[in-house]
Symmetry: C2
Subunit: 623 residues, 2 copies
């Protein structure tokens, strides 16, 4: 038998004054719930099969603190704790699940409407809370964002963390505002028709405050991951480990009205079962979404380039909705920065960007010098909406030695070109908070662990990691509060100079993306991508029915005049990234582009450095 | 770049007197071929990229002994050695690949024609050689066998081994007769239209005489397998490890005319790539088979019950042709023996056999007490020819404490019932050598390692393994020659008493299987399986067009009279396993079955203990 109990895991209030406790603890012979901190009352739990213990306790109401006592010895917080008001080592708290929702009209957004905005709750605002995000939503809405993506919010050690060190997947970080804060934010988003994506971490537990192994075999020795012991998804007892995470995913969707989940680094979930945990998760979430009448998407991050992951189950796939596409990022990044360290050594030139722009995965069986093996499978047949692309994200910034954004190394025209490449691709775009106005603050790696030896290990670990890239020298101290504070956004600069111009530029690109049918429709098959390696030009033609859009990206440093194979007809310039209104003060455009070009199959074009042009075929406008 | 060399791995003669040597040795800076033992001549090799070293040596002919010298230090046999005349630690030998084949008419058999006969070369005959098998082929042919399946023949330590301790995948065990012996056997089989299946081991190397890690990263630390370090199929440099095994598979097919490969325990090949080694292997072998115009099948053993493995690549599958089905075996075994130890605890009763008979995998997401988790996926949609079934095989006999066959614990009627259940199923049947005449010799576990500590470890390991089953007490000493000799077949008994009867019974079942279209056609969808748990009866109806066959299996100890739901009509008994001619002397049939029964939808039948009946619907015969 598997998971015999219908009750939810953890502490769940039944009315005002009674509480159901269910915990999976096959490593214990006896479990008691100890109410209060220090314990004032102990309630023995019943062993109910498959290693589960259960009880319904009377006179327990919202706010009660508790721990489980295992075998009359260790007292431990609840692995399925909904709230850890005193941190990861403290007692768990019975949470009040009641909330007055105002989003009954909201059923989510189709995937192809997503314009993602990734944000870190702690550094997005000075306050670092869910509540503080709410007043900023209208500005994001105005920009054209349709979905915010929250970096993980599961309870982590201390108050400063990216979130990937969470140890209580069910508990919302107390310092962010806990479960009530998160619900308030989600409700506010839905009022504005903004979807909320939550980043969840099912591939490992954080290194501090994780007591789950005292309860049950959450880990397996068969596999190793970059973060140590692997979570047990296919060894003995894995059914209940799977249940623990699947029930967690369903809770976010159901009780928190979260619209979609981003699944962190699923390549670190090693599972050789015929039905993998990930397939089971996808099926469970999609089935729940269907019964709720909502659009819910599951978006893993994976370094496998495995099209099976984003294929439908009836095609032998795992049934995920989209995947982060690093190939697109890396191709674009090396074109813009010229970097060739670490994994960037595998990417070079316009051809690589063209490949990824065309198909999704560039590495589809190609040999990688960095990985020293071939990897990936073809994604030619996979619809465009199944890929998330970005010029920056938390990892690609934060895992640099100094956490520097593109804004610190690129010119203003380059930043605009990055935006255009992402936003006019047929894929789901993702912006990283602050990118839209050229935020200069770094996004550094920060933690606030309690264990001195762990703190030292993190410091060393980061340095060693960078050394692999050939990056030596000092790094910002991950444990220092200053590192965290330095990473906070400076929204006030939005009103100023080039920050303001860039913000409006992003807004305009997103407007055009929605307005022009060939861009609004995410269709790789209605697209032709041509690359000119020497000229550093990428020519992208997209169409829908008779509507046609042509985008000319120029990744060259110098102005250049070219004869380009532009389909015959009249083409109107809809956007010129080097036009006066998009130029920072003190700079000026090197050359003018005519408002209309006539092509007989070829046409001469003068391209500004790091600029791009968007043309619409004439009959679109006048005929 | 990947595998830049077109030459074959290892030593390959170019004409009479020159030899190409290619070795993958990225762990060496310098490699020399040392000809002779002890070395008489040293030839420096050229580094040709990706860690390969190559040379063409003059004045080297067939029979020359050689080793590679790495970095001017270690001298090592060739990981791709074709012959190890002096054992696993000795020098490699340049093999003569020339052979006069007489099988040019042979193109293989379609999978559905396979009747497999698994044999171990060392114990099949007193001589224990390929040559000694040849004179016995006509008897197997006579029996109805269409394919022999050789347990692994890759060079292993010493002269006694099941074959799973092989360390030179390309070298044919010298004591069996080496490459020439194998070719002679294959050629003889093909003259008789018998296919040859070779068991190959790509999931691990044996524990003694494996020097491959001195050359290259054949292993990875990321995963553990039951046999220690995992072979590197997805880590850095895995492309060349894959090449090593894929080229090996192609060589068996191409140079040895092997018809099909059985892949040992592929669940121990851990590989999370988008394109797994196993998919790549299947594609390469099928492509080669196509270009050779031959029917080649790949038949993995796997404990995953993963239908993806035997699905076509365009359905998201891995493209294997069939898989060993332990669920069928275990269901049948517990019905016959009543055993419930170890993994047998997961199987019980007629219902389980019915489930596996109907679909293939019984465990398709069901919870296993033995594994303490759910496992498997549905195989309902998978054609019957994709499953290999058996009442016995080398593992199911040899991994018992005393290596005892069913013949040692079951009654004669039970042995016949086992045969009928396997041979009248819609799956590919496999017999284990000697099963067909109730061989009494055990098939024990034997080795002939050279390293005393390894020998001790094997002895201890076997005992510990059995202890998990609750089987304690002495075991035959794996290292003893007596254990090997005890396991040899005693073919002379075939002529005697019940041995002779059983042999003819198998022969008759195989004749009926070919003769009756509903049995010859392997179609799960033209089959109805009904189980009667209390009565211990399994009713199987199979049809093709208007032809109908009904099989009544009775797994009860006592004669019983039953009213069975038999479709209306006249049914003729084609076979009664309890009929006088199939009864051992001194025994007699408990009850007679009429030669014809008339059913109006139900009919009474009297069933002998452990017996089965085969009926053919009347118009089949006379109308």
């Amino acid at each position: 038998m598997t998971s015999p109990r219908k009750e939810k895991l953890g502490a769940v209030l039944l009315g005002e004054n009674a509480c159901s406790f269910l915990v999976w603890a096959p490593r214990a012979n006896r479990v008691d719930v100890c109410i209060g901190d220090p314990p004032e009352r102990e309630i023995p739990m019943q062993s109910v099969g498959c290693g589960y213990f259960h009880t319904v306790a009377q006179d327990v109401s919202a706010g009660a603190l508790y721990r489980y006592r295992l075998n009359n010895k260790k007292e431990r917080p609840d692995p399925a704790s909904r709230y850890q008001p005193r941190g990861v080592h403290g007692p768990s708290q019975v949470a009040d699940n009641r909330f007055h929702w105002n989003d009954s009209q909201w059923t989510g957004l189709p995937l192809e409407k997503y314009v993602l905005y990734e944000l870190h709750v702690g550094t997005f605002t000075p306050q670092g809370t869910f509540d503080a995000i709410v007043p900023r939503l209208p500005t994001l809405k105005d920009l054209g964002v349709t979905a915010i993506e929250l970096m993980p919010v599961a309870q982590f050690p201390g108050e400063r963390n990216w979130g990937y060190d969470g140890v209580y997947p069910y508990a919302v970080q107390a310092s962010y505002g806990g479960p009530l804060g998160l619900k308030t934010l989600v409700d506010a988003c839905h009022q504005l028709e903004i979807a909320v994506v939550l980043d969840v971490v099912y591939n490992h537990f954080g290194p501090e405050g994780n007591y789950s192994a005292d309860f049950a075999p959450y880990f397996t020795d068969i596999y190793k991951t970059p973060w140590g012991q692997a979570v047990n998804f296919d060894d003995a007892h894995s059914d209940e480990v799977r249940r623990y995470f699947i029930e967690n995913a369903l809770e976010w969707i159901t009780d928190f009205h979260i619209d979609s989940l981003r699944l962190d680094a699923v390549h670190a979930i090693i599972d050789t079962s015929a039905q993998t945990f990930l397939e089971e998760l996808a099926a469970a979430v999609h089935s729940r979404a269907k019964s709720l009448g909502r659009e819910v998407h599951l978006i893993p991050e994976s370094n496998r380039n495995d099209a099976r992951m984003i294929s439908a189950p009836d095609a032998g796939g795992w049934g995920f909705d989209a995947v982060w596409n690093d190939d697109f990022h890396h191709s674009l990044h090396v074109l813009l920065t010229g970097e060739q360290d670490g994994y960037y050594q595998d990417f070079c030139g316009i051809e690589d960007l063209a490949g990824s722009y065309r198909e999704g995965f560039l590495y589809a069986g190609r040999y990688s010098k960095f990985r020293q093996k071939r990897y990936g499978g073809s994604s030619k047949h996979i619809p465009a909406k199944r890929f998330v692309v970005y010029a920056q994200n938390h990892d690609q910034i934060g895992n640099r030695r100094l956490g520097d954004r593109l804004s610190q190394s690129l010119s203003f025209p380059q930043l605009k070109l990055a935006a255009g490449t992402v936003l006019f691709s047929p894929y789901i775009p993702l912006l990283f908070m602050g990118e839209e106005y050229s935020e200069r603050a770094p996004f550094e790696y920060f933690v606030s662990h309690g264990d001195p030896s762990l703190i030292e290990a993190v410091r060393r670990g980061r340095k060693d990691e960078f050394a692999k890239f050939g990056w030596t020298g000092d790094i910002p101290d991950p444990q220092s509060a200053a590192t965290f504070l330095d990473s906070k956004l400076n929204w006030d600069v939005q009103a100023e100079g080039h920050h303001r111009i860039l913000w409006h530029f992003y807004q305009e690109l997103l407007r055009i993306r929605r307005a022009l049918p060939p861009l609004a429709e995410l269709d790789k098959n209605a697209m032709e991508v041509t690359s000119f390696a020497n000229e550093k030009v990428l020519l992208v033609r997209r169409w829908k029915a008779a509507s046609q859009v042509l985008i000319v990206y120029h990744f060259g440093q110098e102005s250049t005049e070219l004869l380009l194979p532009i389909p015959a007809g009249r083409w109107h310039v809809t956007l010129d990234s080097a036009q006066q209104q998009w130029i920072d003060q003190g700079h000026s455009q090197a050359c003018e582009t005519p408002a209309v070009i006539e092509s007989r199959g070829e046409a001469p074009l003068t391209l500004n450095p790091w600029a791009f042009l968007v043309f619409v075929k004439s009959h679109e406008i006048n005929e």
